[in-house]
Symmetry: C2
Subunit: 241 residues, 2 copies
């Protein structure tokens, strides 16, 4: 086995939504099936997915981090926003149907390279989630999609959401590693900037198909990060897995 | 797929040391190799293993639960006791050797049915650790031995050691399940008694080869528990996996 470019790194921690799984395509497909085909409704399902994600989940986490809302799980944030969005459509789902649709976030499709790339990276490193999703969501998603995680670290287990510094530092502590022995892998530069500020190593894997046309994201390689890779196989090759 | 006898149960949480892995044989083999063959020492290595386990780990956890010692990890408890035991032998190991020997608890051999039985149980249930071991130890052990866990719950993540009730209740909460939707699987009746008192379901899988001749354990089936099984395959059959 050849040595890696960063021999101290022992664990890779991954952002999940957007970096490992394609939330937007999966959510659009399921809401189209459930609400469009199933209930005969017509709406912009891409906009529905974006509002669910950005107003419900991302906005909810920001409110919690600002202290404006009590700590809760991703499941609960998703459900509260789903109920609001369904209300705008005239409440077309019963409780069981709404609960099932809310669990779409537990069964998101991986990017094509995710399962194989994680398996390759796992031959050399501990591969763990480090997600604002809750544990049950991440475990169900892994079981559904065959994601070969070695470990699950999540906001609800750690008591902090990214990109609070405590999240990255307590993740390293839970792994009994120094921050410099952990590398954060994400498609989103702010996540990597925050991890890097805590002393973690960083790998940027842009996902140009994550977003719809209304969102612009910086996808350019960036020499502030230790690695820039086109997908998980490219990262594995750079890390000599 | 036929229905299970307990249709509400969605996750099985396992005691690890003794229930899933054969700590005593592995520790005896490694200390014999490192200290006996490696350093030419002669001692009762079975007694060494038992003191490391019962005085260091079990005794350490009891002291923490009684508030006599600050919360720490299984790794730290193991290391403190190892240093004491090595001191009695004249400190035969350097720091790197002692650190490596302490990690024997990260590479314990599974019982012959553990990997296959967990895989079978995992087709129907979330299979998770619920161990007083720390996360890093459990993750390394799984990677070393191919234990197909879906999830890791551990004392350091939950902030409590078994058999404090908070351990079982916060495990169910982390899985977003009611206690009655979780079944504790263990070779030790006190663990199951404590889990049952918190509303979890219980399965007893005695491991008659866990202990040496100096320890007597109650291995009899017990109708206070929901299931009594001879090994994980028998449990899988009873649960119709």
């Amino acid at each position: 086995m050849t040595s890696t470019p960063l021999p101290d790194v022992q664990a890779l921690t991954f952002d999940v939504f957007g970096t490992v799984v394609d939330w937007r395509s999966t959510v659009i497909r399921e809401v189209t099936a459930t609400l469009g085909q199933g209930k005969g409704l017509d709406a912009d399902w891409g906009a529905f997915a974006d509002r669910w994600r950005f107003e419900g989940y991302v906005g909810g986490i920001q409110a919690i981090r600002r202290g404006e809302r009590p700590f809760t799980t991703a499941d609960a944030l998703h459900r509260a926003k789903l109920d609001e969005l369904l209300g705008e459509l005239g409440n077309p789902l019963d409780e069981a149907e709404a609960a099932d649709l809310n669990r779409v976030w537990h069964r998101l499709d991986p990017w094509p390279d995710s399962v194989g790339g994680l398996r390759r990276l796992g031959t050399r490193f501990i591969v763990s989630t480090l997600s604002n999703g809750n544990l049950a969501l991440l475990v169900n998603m892994a079981k559904h999609s065959g994601l070969p995680w070695d470990c699950f670290l999540s906001a609800d287990l750690l008591g902090h959401f990214k990109s609070d510094p405590e999240t990255y530092l307590s993740a390293a502590r839970a792994l009994t590693l120094d921050p410099a022995q952990v590398m954060m892998v994400a498609a989103h530069k702010p996540d990597l900037e925050a991890a890097g500020a805590c002393g973690l190593r960083t790998a940027f894997v842009p996902r140009p198909r994550e977003h719809g046309p209304s969102v612009t994201v910086d996808l350019e390689p960036d020499d502030r990060f230790d690695f820039n890779a086109t997908d998980f196989h490219d990262l594995a090759a750079q890390l000599r897995c």
